[in-house]
């Protein structure tokens, strides 16, 4: 729109055609670089950025930066990347390339042939008797071995599912639907009951009968499932359970359970050990194997101690907005063997309790009968939780799933 450029003509003229042309090229390169750094930018944005620069001019670097930021960035978390890259690029594009190389993870995974998933591998190999697992050769130096063992502990238990585990999880999800409780949402749809009249539909049907209102159609409130927040303990004592539970919860909450016309479940998942890990990105993956892989990479305190109090404090400080309007249903999966300070735990649990609708404690370690929450952490959890499920045997995961379902129903 050259006609509209007239208010700031001196800047455009001052630049001259040749340099103007160069600017377009530079801008394109800058946008591509941003894209490689993970900022989503499409071609129309680049064109818009060009227009924005026409208006603001490039005489002042700060203005140009602000203009490009307004156009190219659409998320708060991208701002820092943008500013760093902008500074680097418009001083020295080569430096920016180096910076980018540092920021980006090594992407050599694509080059290799895709590794066979354990699920596929197990399905391909003939069934065999359970042989002793191959011993890790422990001929390393002491120090080296400790390190490698720690590393193994950190990642080993988030292997992908074997075929039998996969079938177990599939069966559980099929057999035991998690009846997530629903509430009447603010959003409405046409129906036969409800307080408000669906005028549009009523009028439509009246028009068919020559203007006589034969039936009053009504606006019914839709049912929406409660937002769900899952906190999974990944400490040492939980390591055997955490993986399968994550897989189960991933499958069980993936689909909308609130009937055909319900709204989708809002689901937030965190793992905690010595600190809190956001697993939402992993849980967005549709494939359970991919989810476990991503979760395994995200969790860096696997099989460390449990510091529930500190983890909850982190949740409060950084992710409090996940708790939607005190409607959230919180599933806390933990054995309650807390190694942190008891006092913050009491405080944080009280806070969590205040901001949620229901707090359910899923305790996969302890027995049903005669169980007394003796450990301090467990006692606090027991006090705060609205309900508790305890199952003592991990192979009976279906009992746990069933118990969760029963608890949710009440």
């Amino acid at each position: 729109m050259p006609a509209q450029l007239s208010p700031a003509p001196e800047r455009v003229v001052q630049l001259g055609d040749a340099r103007h042309g160069k600017l377009a090229g530079n801008l394109g390169a800058f946008c591509r670089m941003l894209r490689r750094a993970g900022v989503p930018i499409d071609a129309s944005r680049i064109a818009l950025a060009q227009q924005a620069l026409n208006w603001v001019g490039v005489a002042q670097k700060d203005d140009a930066s602000a203009a490009l930021e307004a156009v190219l960035v659409a998320r708060e978390q991208d701002r820092a990347v943008f500013r760093e890259l902008f500074d680097a690029f418009f001083r020295d594009p080569k430096l920016a390339n180096k910076l980018l190389a540092q920021m980006l993870p090594r992407a050599d995974g694509h080059a290799r042939a895709p590794k066979r998933r354990p699920r596929v591998a197990e399905a391909l190999s003939p069934p065999k008797a359970q042989s002793a697992p191959a011993k890790e050769d422990a001929i390393d130096l002491d120090a080296a071995m400790t390190a490698s063992q720690v590393a193994r502990l950190k990642t080993a238990d988030f292997n992908q599912l074997t075929a039998s585990e996969y079938m177990l999880v599939e069966r559980l999800v099929r057999d035991i639907p998690l009846p997530l409780p629903t509430v009447a949402a603010r959003r409405t749809h046409g129906g036969t009951r409800g307080a408000r009249i669906h005028w549009r539909r009523t009028f439509g049907s009246a028009a068919q009968c020559g203007g006589d209102v034969m039936a009053l159609h009504r606006l019914e409130r839709r049912r929406a499932p409660l937002p769900l927040l899952v906190l999974v303990d990944v400490s040492g004592s939980m390591e055997r359970y955490a993986r399968l539970l994550l897989a189960f919860l991933h499958c069980a909450t993936a689909r909308t359970q609130a009937g055909g016309r319900g709204l989708a479940v809002r689901r937030d998942v965190f793992a905690f050990g010595s600190h809190l890990t956001d697993l939402n990105a992993a849980f967005r993956l549709a494939d359970t194997d991919a989810m476990l892989l991503a979760a395994g990479q995200a969790i860096d305190d696997f099989a460390g101690g449990t510091r529930l109090g500190a983890s909850l404090a982190q949740l409060r400080e950084r992710h409090a907005r996940r708790l939607v309007g005190r409607r959230t249903l919180v599933l806390l999966v933990s054995d309650g063997l807390d190694t942190g300070e008891p006092e913050p735990l009491t405080k944080e649990l009280a806070w969590l309790k205040r901001h949620t609708r229901t707090l359910l404690w899923l305790n996969p370690l302890l027995r049903f009968g005669g169980y007394e929450p003796i450990a301090r952490g467990a006692a606090e959890l027991h006090k705060a939780a609205d309900g508790m499920v305890a199952v003592h045997n991990v192979t009976k995961l279906h009992e746990l799933a069933g118990a969760i379902a029963r608890l949710l129903k009440t």
Binding site: Q4, P7, A8, P40, D42, S44, R45, L48, Q51, A52, W55, V56, D62, D63, S65, A66, A67, E69, A70, V71, V73, A74, R75, E76, R79, A185, R186, R187, T188, W199, R200, T202, F203, A206, A207, G210, G211, V213, L263, R316, E317, A320, R321, V324, W351
Partner: protein, 308 residues
């Protein structure tokens, strides 16, 4: 503070000056974003913590541009009929009754769906406002649920609304559109793609000082400086860890007003503790700001003021 003529806003400086005249102190980056939104005729999505002046910007901008401010406050369950348009069904039924037998049915339909039976909601109002046009504020869009955002797309992209019975309503003057969000959830990519984006941060010390001076002119200069420095410290490390939510500009201004009402000449820990309920709106936060902490913050704030 009505100005004599609408601001032309041909440069960023002009826009900044215009906003300042209305008592809104925009930093350079924000002014650039607003300037571009005006010139490129794109909606501007403002995100930021509560109380950093997102809604105030819309009010001030409406004054600067001499545009009518139309506000759509979003809430959970907001529907198309509350945001865009609705038919006046009762009047339509009456019309149908009255026309019975007199008008052939083929014309009846046309008569029933006339613009006069259309109830205009904010989006449609904004489109139909005659020159100089409207300023539409879609406030706290994150409070509406995700399906609602789809209703906005046509408006945000093309400044038009399609009404199946009437056709498409296009804007004669494209409304200046601001969306605000507190980021209680991430907005849909489709909405963001149609908007420019600006993240409103807490202002720096100088800016905040200017704001408090402008809005609470009756406060003594020393107190104003202390207030600005104190709040700055509350928002930054190491003190921000003590609170769940840092006070926004709105709180700072409120606090300065309260201190003036209490005839305070200078801050001391006791007065800070007594008025903590204005800075913080959560019980835990209010309790956290005890006299010991207040004294510590005051000391650091005083030093910071000297160093700068």
């Amino acid at each position: 503070m009505p100005t004599t003529s609408p601001c032309e806003c041909n440069t960023i400086d002009e826009l900044t000056a215009g906003l300042r005249q209305q008592g809104y102190f925009a930093d350079r980056r924000l002014a650039t974003a607003v300037f571009l939104a005006l010139k490129l005729q794109r909606p501007l999505l403002l995100e930021g913590e509560p109380g950093v002046g997102k809604t105030e910007l819309a009010k001030a901008l409406a004054q600067v541009l001499w545009r009518q401010l139309i506000r759509l406050q979003c809430f959970d369950g907001l529907e198309q009929r509350e945001a865009l348009y609705e038919w006046n069904y009762a009047a339509q039924l009456l019309h149908l009754r009255a026309a019975e037998g007199q008008v052939p049915s083929s014309e009846l339909e046309q008569e029933v769906y006339q613009p006069r039976y259309l109830v205009r909601r904010p989006l449609l109002q904004a489109l139909e406002t005659p020159a100089p046009g409207a300023l539409l504020l879609i406030d706290e869009v994150d409070r509406a649920d995700e399906p609602f955002e789809a209703f906005l797309l046509e408006y945000l992209g093309e400044y038009q609304v399609s009404i199946p019975e009437l056709g498409t309503v296009r804007a004669s003057v494209p409304p200046v559109t601001l969306l605000t969000s507190n980021r209680t959830r991430e907005l849909n990519g489709a909405v963001k793609r149609r908007c420019l984006y600006h993240w409103l941060d807490y202002p720096d010390r100088e800016h905040e000082l200017a704001i408090v001076r402008a809005l609470v002119p009756e406060a003594p200069a020393r107190l104003t400086e202390q207030v600005a420095a104190f709040v700055q410290q509350l928002r930054s490390a190491p003190f921000d860890g003590n609170f769940q939510r840092a006070p926004g500009i709105a709180e700072t201004v409120e606090w300065a007003r309260a201190l003036v009402a209490l005839d305070t000449l200078a801050l001391d820990p006791e007065v800070v503790q007594d008025t903590a309920g204005i800075l913080f709106k959560q019980r835990d936060d209010v309790a956290a700001l005890n006299q010991a902490l207040a004294a510590e913050v005051l000391q650091v704030a005083a030093q910071g003021g000297g160093a700068n």
